[in-house]
Amino acid sequence: MANNESAVSQSEVKLTAKDFSTGQDVRWCPGCGDYSILAQMQRTAPDFGMKKENIVYVSGIGCSSRFPYYMDTYGFHSIHGRAPAIATGVKLANPELMVWVATGDGDLLSIGGNHFIHACRRNIDLKILLFNNRIYGLTKGQYSPTSEKGKKTKSTPFGSVDYPFHPISVAIGSGATFVARSLDREPKHLQAMMSRASKHTGIALIEILQNCNIFNDGAFELYTEKDTKADNVVVLEHGKPLVFGKNNEKGVRLNGFNPEVVSLEDGKFSLDDLWVHDEFDPDPTRAFILSRFIDNNALPLPIGIFMQIQKTSYDADVETQINNIKTSRGEGDLKSLFFDGNTWEVA
């Protein structure tokens, strides 16, 4: 099994964020959350331990999918929804490459849903940055598969009647091995998630809640504004209890399978009663429960790594199988290929 340390070449000269910038005019709307995601990637990329030329960003179509143009690496801005499939081909052709997918909620979860769940199933070593702004930005504001029910948009003037996906639940249900969530407005946290994803072998999803200030402004205000975020966001840290609140005065405990918020102030519960996060839990059940917090207004939004599971990656298995066969049978040559099976001579 290939792991990151061995499969990728180490860069020799320490690169900086600037090395990763193409210097092209960035064409997102002023104020768009995408700028922060780009900045965090440019800051984090030098620490991937990869040479620039060995990193590839593949995207579909959408505002978010313009991402590759701004990273001075190899990049492919493809067609709507197909980034995971194209990235799969890139990775299989050359497993030495570190392949990122930059995508939106429409791109990955609507038209690209099938490629996404199969990438999760196969555990192919792609790192997916999901820019989830809960709207179709580039096509000017239709609802997306992550939009809340009842949302009024250009295509739902009377409110949508669709239930939304929870992207992380979908990923877990499909077999993903690394799932995390972060926010465009939490630069340090987002950098940490990128860095952690870069070290995972296999599929890694980072759902980034991203503000589209033009068509869905303020969608994540509760989680990003100074006065509300402490009470509404819980940061998952391995080995630590789920504590949140302005003064760390609240926690989440599991009552059976039921997560509930408890106060740490009224003496009834203490830190010891809380759910302690185990990001390496091989059982995805707890991560699944975390992925559904968002359904329950009483619970805070978890950000951080929901889970990461060690499993051989698809690309590594493909390579291993070929190498094994080459070793056991010897490398094929054309002569033996042509003469395979029944042959006869005409003299």
Binding site: E53, P68, Y69, I86, G89, G330, G332, L334, W344
Partner: protein, 613 residues
């Protein structure tokens, strides 16, 4: 025993029975032995649409046809000279195709009430006059096999299964072929099942000797070896040849072959074949759907593999958006479409040539691609290689069209010396100096700079690209320049492909023009008509876009141009538009290849029926 021996130039044999009767196997064995014997040949299996239709039903009949001879064999034969019918359904389904006076060997044991009813026979055709005009040879095959295997260790069911070997043995006797090659094959195949091996051997040889002893046969036939070019041969089906051709191209290009595919009849065997070639470094990715399959191939191409995707009609329809992406990104990729009966799911197990216009135009915007078509099973090898050569040299998607008939049909392939195949290796761009992603060389092709190459980091995609620089460009004039460049690049390939070759009577009034898999039937028809005194020229398109550069000249030279196609007139459409000539169409959309007689008749009709004089 003093039976008469008749020398024949060629023979067409069809084996037919239930899917469970092993007809494909029997046919293949007969084919192999015949090939070893030195005949030229051509085969065509005919499977039912169902996986295992209930025994005895009409729609469950499986057939295998073999045409072999001492002359140049071009098709699996219009109509069998001999039918081996394992049950009434097999007889019913196949009888309409036979030559008048054909030999019909039937397994009489299978003609019981139940089977007759399943075959929708009101009366037993062996017992009335309905087979008059044929030479019926009634053989109690099941019974004879059971007798032969009496006392053997195998089950009754297995005894039943052996009857195809009995029949095969009989056929070997009848056509004077050795049984040894099949015995050898059995010995390896049933290595671990000694009882079955013994039983099958016994059935085979008993069948052979039965031919010799029975009075049912009064004549024995002999077909001399053909005068084939010296060399080593192997029988290949079109799909096998395609797969091997792609591996050969990868080796000669010094690239790894990447196949992204989603199973679909009749293309799946290319995937099956290629998945066996892991020791050649072939990566086969069975994708979740056709879109993923081609997209993964495009990704692999971007990363420097020889990228391939294989499919059939409905799958190509799904890939069209992505083909456009390959056009825009100017990445090399080979797209193989094994055509089948459409529209929609259509007739999935039948052949047709109705995806030419889809290949040509089935994409949004002005998105020209190169289109090739293989003409025979063996030609699939060469055209797969050629498709790869063009894709790599010009950095373009190439669609190679084959069809169900070529895919499943087989013929002997004179195995080439690997060294005789051209070197088609490519140079990845590594030089930084003067590198621009959309600069062009003399072929108008852009440099292939793959991830991993230091200093050439760049971005590509589906939005319009600035000429030379390859950045996104919304510039209006640039768009027109690029659309025209993409068109010109494809058109220029006409300079790098063989001219359209005309055979037959170059000074004839009639030119018969085909494309792809109809080559054999047309050639046979033309040859026969010419033997009968008609003057005819023939030309066959293997390059559909661009057309060979002398096409206009060739086409305009003839008073009439007849275009036989297995569709409603797709090449005709292109020829009319491109060359403004009023071609005569001969169209057939029946899920079946042409019989050469159908073409011959049309030729005679056009030329006036009196030997063209």
């Amino acid at each position: 025993m003093g039976k008469e021996v008749q020398i024949l130039e060629d023979v067409t044999v069809r084996f037919a029975g239930d899917s469970g009767d092993g007809m494909q196997l029997t046919g293949s064995q007969f084919t192999n032995t015949t090939a070893l014997f030195g005949n030229d040949l051509s085969t065509l299996p005919d499977y039912p649409a169902e996986i295992r239709a209930p025994a005895g039903t009409l729609y469950g009949v499986s057939g295998f046809q073999l045409h072999f001879g001492s002359n140049d064999i071009k098709t699996p034969g219009d109509s069998p000279d001999v039918l081996i019918a394992m049950n009434p359904a097999a007889l019913k389904v196949n009888i309409k195709d036979l030559k008048s006076n054909a030999i019909i060997i039937v397994n009489t044991n299978a003609f019981d009430q139940k089977n007759l009813k399943l075959a929708q026979y009101e009366k037993n055709p062996l017992e009335d006059d309905s087979l008059k005009g044929y030479t019926v040879i009634p053989v109690p095959l099941s019974q004879l096999t059971a007798n032969a295997l009496e006392g053997s260790a195998i089950s009754n069911k297995e005894v039943g299964r052996s009857k195809n070997f009995f029949a095969l043995g009989m056929m070997y006797w009848l056509y004077n072929r050795p049984i040894e090659p099949t015995i050898l094959w059995m010995e390896s195949k049933f290595k671990n099942k000694p009882e079955i091996l013994e039983a099958n051997k016994k059935a085979l040889s008993t069948g052979y000797y039965f031919g010799e002893t029975t009075e049912l046969f009064t004549t024995r036939y002999h077909v001399e070896p053909a005068k084939l070019e010296k060399g080593f041969y192997r029988n290949v089906s079109g799909n096998e040849a395609t797969a091997i051709g792609m591996v050969a191209a990868a080796v000669k290009a010094k690239l790894q072959l990447f196949l992204g595919s989603y199973p679909i009849t009749p293309a799946s065997e290319i995937l099956h074949e290629l998945s066996r070639y892991k020791s050649y470094g072939v990566k086969t990715f069975q994708a979740e759907d056709e879109i993923s399959a081609i997209c993964a191939a495009i990704g692999a191409s971007f990363a420097g593999d020889l990228a391939l995707t294989t499919t059939s009609g409905p799958g190509l329809a799904l890939k069209t958006e992505a083909v456009g992406l390959a056009v825009m990104t100017e990445l090399p990729i080979v797209i193989i479409n094994v055509q089948r009966g459409g529209p929609s799911t259509g007739l999935p197990t039948k052949t047709e040539q109705a995806d030419l216009l889809q290949s040509m135009f089935g994409r949004n915007g002005e998105a020209p691609v190169v289109i090739l078509a293989a003409s025979t099973p063996v030609d699939c090898f060469y055209m797969a290689f050629e498709a790869s050569r063009i894709a790599l040299k010009y950095m373009v998607p190439v669609i190679l069209l084959t069809d169900g008939y070529l895919a499943n049909g087989s013929e002997p392939w004179r195995i080439p010396d690997p060294d005789s195949l051209p070197d088609i290796s490519v140079q990845f761009r590594t030089e930084k100096e003067g590198y621009y992603p959309y600069s062009r060389n003399e072929n108008l092709s852009r440099p292939w700079a793959i991830p991993g190459t230091p200093g050439l980091e760049h971005r590509i995609g589906g939005l319009e690209k600035a000429n030379i620089y390859g950045t996104v460009s919304y510039d209006t004039e640039n768009h027109e320049i690029m659309c025209k460049l993409r068109e010109e690049k494809v058109n220029k390939i006409a300079l790098d492909i063989p001219d359209l070759e005309v055979t037959g009577d170059l000074d004839a009034d009639l030119l018969v023009v085909g494309w792809g898999g109809t080559f054999g039937s047309i050639a046979e028809a033309v040859q026969r008509a010419r033997k009968n005194g008609y003057k005819i020229a023939q030309a066959h398109f293997k390059y559909l876009n661009p057309f060979p550069k002398n096409s206009a000249e060739v086409l305009k030279k003839y008073k009439s141009v007849l275009v036989p196609e297995l569709n409603l007139g797709q090449l005709s459409h292109l020829l009319r538009s491109e060359f403004l000539i009023d071609v005569v169409q001969l169209n057939k959309v029946q899920g079946l290849p042409f019989k050469s007689i159908e073409i011959e008749e049309r030729i005679i009709e056009i030329l006036g029926g009196n030997n063209g004089k």
